[in-house]
């Protein structure tokens, strides 16, 4: 890997993040009106008298720096964001937005990232086996079932699972991530965490497995028609070698691209799974922020999501040349 390639990718990463946070800055300011004035107007419309409303608005504008020139505001916003100072949450006041995100982060990574990777691995393997001519017949009959799974919205799946395995049978907890806040990592704590994570993880895995399997099946069918597969068979290679090193290895390439994007969007994409299972991750945080119109928190989470998508694409860009030698590292 050359330095210029690395620098180019890093520059791209910075540019994407910069663009996203700029949009994050501009969009609220494009909306007509003024946040403080809006609150006051609401009070007025309910017939309440507010003494000196003009002064209050002005005071608030000064307090939040809204009376300064727009470029100065932008500069300060950039500086604060770069220092991960995302402001204070309104609904969790006086907690800072960044600390709210940081405390939700391990749950989301632990649940969503792991479940997405499991779903990806399982689905890709299934899809590869469905397309492989030598695999048993029952595997091929899975194809329609997987298509149905990929068509069911994941939050619906979550509700069905919740009903069947938690409410009806009572095998699993209804929600939450732990029985009591974990103090240290010992086997029983880990077991408790896994026990709570199982249902949300199951719904994410099931909702995703069809998507991954269908994608992989398509890619495999394409690869199986390639001349190098005929040659691999002619060479008398063992079946396993042909399957993994010739077929799967090539069919995986587009799947890996999808994985990077899926990991990046997992947090926002599975908001409702975290909500359905009361799981204290980023999605749950975002849901609460939206419900309480906690603008700073919404902005903070949005910034964080952009960061994760950009970061996972950056990592993909860096490892992709290792997976596909045709991609040049320049």
């Amino acid at each position: 890997m050359t330095w210029s390639y690395l620098l180019k990718r890093l520059a791209m990463f910075v540019a994407v993040v910069l663009l996203a946070i700029t949009v994050n800055f501009i969009v609220p300011r494009l909306a007509p009106g003024d946040p403080t004035a809006a609150v006051l107007e609401q009070l007025l419309s309910r017939g309440q008298q507010v003494e000196g409303s003009q002064d209050i608005v002005a005071a608030y504008r000064a307090r939040f720096g809204l009376d300064e020139p727009i470029l100065l505001q932008y500069g300060r916003y950039l500086l604060n964001t770069a220092r991960f100072d995302l402001g204070s949450s309104i609904s969790y006041f006086p907690q800072k937005v960044e600390s709210a995100i940081v405390s939700a982060l391990p749950w989301t990574i632990g649940l969503l990232a792991v479940a997405t990777v499991i779903s990806f691995g399982l689905g890709s393997l299934l899809g590869a086996l469905i397309a492989w001519p030598g695999s048993p017949r029952f595997l091929k009959s899975l194809s329609p079932a997987l298509m149905v799974l990929s068509a069911i919205p994941y939050y619906l799946l979550a509700l069905i699972i919740l009903y069947l395995l938690a409410i009806w049978t009572g095998w699993f907890p209804l929600g939450g991530a732990y029985s009591q806040i974990p103090q240290r990592f010992d086997p029983s704590t880990l077991w408790d965490l896994a026990y709570h994570a199982f249902l949300p993880a199951l719904s994410i895995v099931l909702a995703g497995v069809g998507f991954w399997a269908l994608g992989m099946r398509g890619a495999m069918i394409n690869v199986l028609g390639e001349d190098y597969l005929t040659l691999a068979e002619a060479k008398g290679l063992p079946k396993g070698r042909i399957f993994f090193a010739y077929a799967v290895r090539n069919a995986m390439l587009p799947q890996v691209t999808s994985l990077a994007i899926a990991l990046g969007t997992a947090a926002s994409g599975s908001v409702l799974v975290e909500v359905a299972f009361n799981y204290p991750g980023i999605g749950y945080l975002l849901y609460n922020a939206l419900r309480s119109s906690d603008y700073f928190l919404i902005q903070g989470v949005a910034f964080f999501l952009v960061l994760t998508v950009a970061l996972s694409v950056l990592i993909l860009d860096l490892i992709y040349p290792l997976l596909d030698p045709r991609i040049q590292r320049r």
Binding site: E233, A234, N250, D324
Partner: protein
Amino acid sequence: MSGPLLEIRDLSVSYRLGQLQARAVDGLSLTLERGERLGIVGESGSGKSTLALALMRLHKPPAMIESGEVKLGGTDILRLSKEELRRFRWSEISLIPQGAMNSLNPVLRVRQQMADTIRAHRRDLGGKQIRRRIDELLQRVGLDAKVAELYPHELSGGMKQRVCIALAIVLEPKLIIADEPTSALDVVVQRTVIETLKDVQAQIGAALIMIGHDMGLMAQSVDHLAVMYAGRLVDVAPIKAFFTRPLHPYSQMLISSLPSPDETKPLAGIPGMQPSLTDLPSGCAFNPRCPVAQPVCRELVPALLELEPRRRAACHVAAEAYHVV
């Protein structure tokens, strides 16, 4: 061992699509001596590639072998079990495939693709011996040993085809099947690649079946030529006799359609089209296009008869001239 190296007897391969059945190889019989070079020519869809794949049992559904026998050195290929077939492939018959451009796995280095082939058949060889063998083979086909460390996309078309040739002789098989080995290359590279192929084939003493439709290339590279038309062999002859005195009317027309540097007459094509395999004319499949067709040609399918030693033709008119009917 005595007798011919390869004996194909009455081989039929057909594609089945619902009610339709297309017999791409129809009752084909052929023998090949050790070290012999046989060219098989025919128009697109005449069944020559299907034949090549069927000889290694590499055909995929909906193609299926209906009947026949393919014996190589006494082993009936069509009766081998899966594992026997796997071991048989490449160690006895190797293939230089049609699309040399896409015949190499894009994500593996040349060395890895050659080494896995050796390892699949020769458990007795160690890593060092395999390394040395690969380097030596690459040099034998006119490539630098450094090519082993490259990925296929870093090679030119001619280099890829040379790698495929090196790969084909890696286990010193008794038979090499080259399915249009040079169709994707330009004329100059074609020449050198064919020379390389002939050299290494002669060195290891393997027989060669070369499939193609370039008559000029065939004239320079094979000992015998077989012509396929609509799934059947219609003419088999030593290469020199084939060109000086073709027996089958189709062969005559193929030769007269070749451009010649001495004459300035306009090129003669062969009017008409090869018939569809699902809707063959009655009698000889070539009769609608044949300039000398007789009434009998529309009724009876001509048998492939030995008209001269080592010369066979499937034509009523030619057979009559030899009084063998």
